[in-house]
């Protein structure tokens, strides 16, 4: 299973974290520190796997961002590597050629999308189309609610004038 997902910038800034195994806040900070030391220092053209405390961390770099997932030693590494890519493709489709800034200002969107791809540290949905459809449905739910709210507050505003 995937124990956690971390998105790191090249400078070591955290862009997203998701923990599927219980880690206390202290442990989380420590893990991030250790892994950034381990991964950000790796040169290009090396393999995408790092062994760490009996686990493996599968990572992949996209421009300035590192996507890292920690798995058990006997999990299939390449499968995870392609889950990362699948996630990135979905982000890309959603934001339209995604960049680090998109993920900074819309970090909550990245969480929504991740929740449609992974649950309990396991892969949930291999179809990009299905994920895109579900996210779009959520967005429209939020928008409708928002519009209703604003029209109601307008009405209240009008009434109390």
């Amino acid at each position: 299973m995937i124990h956690f997902v971390i998105l790191l910038s090249r400078q070591g800034k955290v862009r997203l974290t998701k923990w599927y195994s219980p880690y206390s806040q202290k442990e989380r900070t420590k893990v991030i520190r250790e892994l950034s030391g381990l991964i950000l220092t790796r040169g290009p053209k090396l393999c995408n796997f790092v062994e760490w405390k009996g686990y493996k961390v599968v990572y992949r770099r996209y421009a300035s961002l590192y996507f890292c997932m920690c798995i058990d030693a006997d999990d299939n590494e390449l499968e995870i590597l392609e889950i990362i890519h699948h996630f990135v493709e979905i982000l890309d489709r959603y934001f339209g050629s995604v960049c680090e800034l998109d993920l900074i200002f819309n970090f909550h969107k990245a969480y929504y999308i991740l929740d449609e791809i992974l649950i309990a540290g396991e892969f949930q949905e291999p179809s990009k189309k299905t994920v895109a459809r579900l996210i779009a449905a959520q967005d429209s739910l939020v928008e409708t609610a928002q519009e209703q709210a604003s029209s109601i507050s307008n009405m209240i505003g009008q009434a109390t004038k």
Binding site: D74, E77, E79, L81, E82, H85, Q124, E125, T130, A145
Partner: protein, 1022 residues
């Protein structure tokens, strides 16, 4: 669109981004946290939208690594909001901020449950996702039935059901009792029929977890998994959106194969055949392509298929194919594939007998030790460690030693430990072992744990032949200008005990030894000082005639340390000083250390424990635990004469033992230098404490004090007694219990197909075999290895050859020295064709245990075959000219083990029956041609044709032709033996030697008449 109504959040994020330094950022964050805190305080004034905004800000701050210790309640409260936008934020932020043990979570269980059982599907999704991500035990207990209901409900849409499956998986991990096995195996079986691949992917993850805990309960699901895999691999009816770079959901394929690896075997021949066909397709049909993602995905499937083949292919037919594939991978440019190739080779070693195949790639693996990527270097090290055996230990250990000087610091300790273990396990001779360990300490002293040098001391103490050599080596190292402290310890210890053996060599008189050791004294730490003091006392004792000048020097040091701050050193100094003035008594007290009892090496034990640990969760590795480790196993029993109260042995003796042990010894209680109490029976433990205490109990002969002292005085003489006592203890403990620790029948069969490997192994010895075959001559070498630190006696080996073989065994030495390996060449000449088998009658004595076994020798018919490739023009005239019995025989064979043609081709190739593709126009047939060599027939061409029936793989027709009727008959029967489905021998308890011997008698030629019936033949073989 994204940040609708949340401008504040964007502003805050860009503020933080614009901070010039950490300090500014901290200030901005603190300001914001203060702001959020005040806003949350008077919650009434907050609109839902504002609340959402602040909760997001909290998450953002938390993500940046700042402590957020408030506001959790606000996030939780959003979960119970009536509208979707708030609920969504509540659920997501909660599952990011809190972990499963947070007590606040308990408060929302009810709300969450209402969302799960409610009618609103979007709420269901949110709730299932949060519980799936952070649900703990309490959630498991209160929500599992509801989640199960959603999963199997026919009215729920896939988007809910796939989340329910993974949510249930989480709850099952937290508390396995939530899934009631009785009903679930049928449910699971139905769920595996799911057509929606999203749901099926999630269900498969759940299934892997269930089946990993209890494969028996889900037996009914096995054919379903095979079907799913077939459907995917053949790309049948897979919607476009579920293919990934043209590959039908690689994830689902991988998961399905993972699940299949939890079943011990696939019994149903149809399922098995279908499965193997799919696997074969994957193994052969995966090509390297340019697109990275496609490559990764197809190789993810390929590597999982390899793992499944390793698990299921009990007959090992596809193994050589797998190794060849991995051999290719470890040399490719793509680092991921290199890494995985090495990793899978290591896994393969754990479960199957492919050592020899893998050894062919040794050079490439050694190169990987120098790979720029540390991940790959680690894999290479692991693999070299796993593949090391007596034949390549020297090369591998030397590579590791060489690598040690340049290796990364993070790897050095592991590297040193592994090199030490390999040197111990496979040392061809003990002096090499000593060399390796000393080099190890010299090159990487910081990374050599104490266990390593304790072990070398133990070996030197137990082997008299080794002592002068070790002492000379230790002396050499002392000449080096900069010496690691561990080297000082081990050299001082060894020279203290054995430097007198070097007395005549230049630079080795007591005074010189003392001087060179004493140079180190000022720079070493306290534990080393203690060892040096003991060494000085020993040197003093060994100086004959005494040298007053040296004595004065050493006394001066003792006196200096009499008031030393460390109590251990102080005590040693006082005692040694007093003792050394007692003249003759000194010799008694400081006599040479007795031998250590035989026990398992602490190092090996450590290594084995580690192996078991990592193997624990792995499906593939489950089997490896059942295989007995070939690590050094030595007796580790309680000494029989242990209960002798040690304090009877007198006051003078005890300190001598203590001197050696005391730096690590907590078991001895001292009062003013006199020993009052010692635990008479130290529990056997693998640590040094146990090692050092052991002799106390074992050495103490059950006689009176006087004889005990005499024993000690005669130093060297005393040790054989000790060995005897030990041997006696062994007999008492395990008479008649010497069992082979390998499956002899399996080994024999494996060696029929390959030329080297282990033929036999028990706790004391190992017999390996290496063979070369040329025409009708065979040159075999038996490697008789003693695994102990005591010799094996009365070794006897006799060959009982069948009439068709002339066998000459060279002289077998009567004794095999400790940890040595003896090679016995064996010449074989084949006189004519026969399936009878030569037997090696072998016996030896360990202590008083007599072990006797009869082993079949793998000098079988196919060893005298050489595959021939002939063209159609050559083949057909021959085939026609040999017409009808007895030169050409035909037979329909039934109960054949079902195998595909490629598998059969592999089998034939390993039997040296060269398969000629394309010669037969019918693709279901297999034609092969081989030359048979014997003294009577010389080279004789044999032609073979196998016609298979694709609709029934359990039967086939075989036709064999050769110029010799006996050969035709024997070869036909021989091939049949290999084709017929013989239930694989149960790997569990190996037969007792007597039983094995009975079963291994050469088959008498008289029974051959009955062999035409496969059933009879089967009985005969078993």
């Amino acid at each position: 669109m994204a940040l609708l109504g949340m401008r504040g959040l964007s502003v805050f994020i860009s503020d933080v981004r614009n901070c010039q330094n950490k300090e500014q950022e901290r200030l901005r964050i603190d300001k914001e946290l203060g702001n959020i805190r005040t806003r949350f305080k008077n919650e009434k004034g907050l609109t839902p939208n504002e609340k959402k905004k602040y909760v997001w800000k909290m998450l953002y701050i938390y993500m940046l690594g700042y402590d957020v210790d408030f506001g959790h309640m606000e996030a939780l409260s959003l979960i119970s909001a009536p509208k979707y936008p708030e609920k969504q934020v509540g659920y997501i932020v909660t599952s990011c901020l809190l972990n499963e043990s947070h007590e606040f979570l308990r408060m929302v269980i009810n709300t969450v449950r209402n969302d799960i059982i409610g009618r609103n599907e979007t709420f269901q999704c949110l709730a299932l996702t949060m519980v799936g991500n952070i649900g703990g035990k309490e959630f498991a207990e209160s929500l599992a039935p509801d989640v199960q209901r959603l999963l199997i409900s026919s009215s729920c849409r896939p988007l809910v059901r796939k989340k329910a499956a993974l949510c249930l998986l989480r709850l099952y991990r937290k508390n396995p009792d939530v899934v009631n096995i009785d009903g679930w195996s049928d449910r699971m079986s139905q769920l595996l029929d799911e057509r929606d691949l999203g749901v099926l992917t999630s269900v498969m993850s759940l299934f892997v977890a269930l089946v990993s805990n209890n494969n028996e309960a889900y037996w009914n699901c096995l054919p379903k998994c095979a079907k799913i895999l077939e459907r995917l691999a053949r790309n049948q009816d897979i919607p476009q959106e579920y293919t990934y770079y043209g590959i039908p959901s690689p994830w689902l394929q991988v998961k399905t194969m993972k699940a299949l690896q939890y079943f011990p075997t696939v019994e149903d021949p149809n399922t098995r055949r279908a499965l193997f066909e799919v696997l074969q397709r994957i193994l052969m049909g995966t090509d390297v392509v340019k697109n990275v993602n496609k490559n990764n995905a197809s190789h993810a499937v390929l590597f999982e298929a390899l793992a499944l083949v390793m698990h299921l292919d009990a007959e090992k037919e596809m193994m050589s194919q797998c190794v060849a594939l991995l051999g290719k991978f470890i040399a490719v440019r793509e680092p991921n594939i290199r890494y995985l190739g090495l990793e899978n080779m290591t896994r393969m070693l754990l479960i199957t007998d492919v050592q020899d195949l893998i050894k062919r790639h040794q050079a490439q693996i050694v190169t990987s030790l120098k790979d720029p990527d540390i991940s790959i270097r680690r894999r290479a090290l692991d693999l070299l460690y796993g593949m090391c055996d007596v034949t390549n230990a020297k090369d591998i250990v030397e590579e590791l030693l060489q690598y040690l000087s340049t290796a990364d610091f993070v790897m050095r300790e592991e590297l040193a430990l592994k090199a030490a273990i390999l040197a111990e396990k496979f040392a061809p001779d003990l002096s090499w072992y000593v060399d390796v360990i000393l080099q190890l300490i010299d090159k990487a002293g910081d990374f050599v744990s104490d266990d390593i040098w304790y072990r070398v001391v133990q070996f030197v103490t137990n082997n008299e032949d080794l002592q002068p050599y070790a002492a000379a080596k230790a002396r050499e190292y002392l000449d080096k200008p900069a010496l690691h402290e561990t080297m000082v310890k081990v050299s001082a210890y060894i020279l203290g005990e054995y430097s007198h053996l070097l007395a005549r060599r230049p630079g080795c008189n007591p005074k010189e030894i003392f001087t060179i050791i004493n140079e180190k004294l000022p720079t070493v730490s306290k534990p080393t000082v203690a060892i040096l003091l003991s060494t000085y006392a020993k040197i003093l004792m060994h100086t004959e005639p005494s040298d007053p000048e040296l004595q004065e020097q050493i006394w001066a040091i003792f006196r200096k340390y009499e008031s030393y701050i460390d109590v251990e050193i102080q005590q040693r100094a006082v005692e040694y000083f007093v003792l050394s003035r007692k003249g003759a008594a000194l010799a008694d007290v400081l006599a040479e250390m007795p031998k250590f009892p035989e026990r398992q090496s602490a190092l090996l034990k450590k290594a084995e424990d580690a192996e078991v640990d990592t193997a624990e969760q792995s499906a593939i590795k489950l089997r490896s635990q059942q295989q007995t480790s070939n690590a050094l196993v030595v007796t580790d029993q309680q000494p029989v004469n242990g209960p002798l109260p040690i304090n009877q042995l007198g006051l003078v003796r005890i300190p001598s033992q203590k001197m050696e042990a005391s730096s690590h010894n907590q078991g001895l209680t001292k009062e003013n230098g006199a020993v009052s109490k010692v635990d008479p029976e130290p529990a056997p433990s693998a640590d040094f404490l146990g090692d050092l205490l052991g002799p106390l109990a074992i050495e103490g002969p059950p006689a009176a004090t006087v004889s005990a002292e005499q024993n000690m005085i005669s130093g060297l003489e005393a040790t054989p007694n000790a060995a005897d006592a030990l041997a006696l203890a062994t007999v008492g403990d395990q008479s008649n219990s010497v069992q082979p620790i390998v499956n002899i029948a399996e080994r024999f069969h494996a060696l029929c197909l390959k030329d080297s490997g282990v033929l036999y192994e028990d706790p004391y010895m190992q017999i390996g075999i290496k063979s070369e075959w040329r025409a009708h001559h065979g040159h075999l070498v038996l490697f008789l290895g003693n695994k102990n630190t005591s010799p094996l006696l009365s070794v006897r080996a006799v060959i009982l050859p069948p009439t068709h073989l002339k066998v000459e065994l060279s002289l077998v030495p009567e004794t095999i020295p400790p940890r040595a390996q003896v090679q016995c060449p064996l010449e074989v000449v084949n006189l004519r064709a026969s399936r009878d088998i030569a037997v090696l009658d072998f016996s030896y004595k360990f202590g008083t245990t007599v072990v006797s076994v009869k082993l079949r020798l793998p000098a079988v018919l196919n060893k005298f075959l050489q595959p021939k490739s002939v063209s159609a023009e050559e083949f057909f005239p021959q085939w026609k000219s040999l017409s009808g019995p007895p030169l050409k025989l035909q037979e329909v064979v039934r109960v054949v083990k079902p195998m595909s043609l490629p598998e059969m081709t592999n089998l034939f190739t390993s039997l040296h029956l060269g398969v000629i593709p394309g010669l037969d126009t019918n693709s279901n047939n297999l034609v092969s041609c081989t030359g048979f060599y014997s003294e009577s027939t010389r080279a004789m061409l044999c032609l073979i044709r196998v016609e298979t029936d694709p609709s029934d793989r359990t039967q086939l027709r075989i036709t064999i032709a050769s110029g010799d009727p006996t050969l035709t008959f024997e070869l036909k029967e021989f091939i049949k033996e290999h084709l017929i489905n013989i239930p694989t021998p149960t790997p569990a308890p190996a037969p007792s030697p007597a039983l094995a011997a009975a079963a291994l008698q050469p088959q008498s030629p008289i029974t051959r008449a009955g062999y035409t019936d496969p059933g009879v033949m089967l009985a005969g073989l078993l």
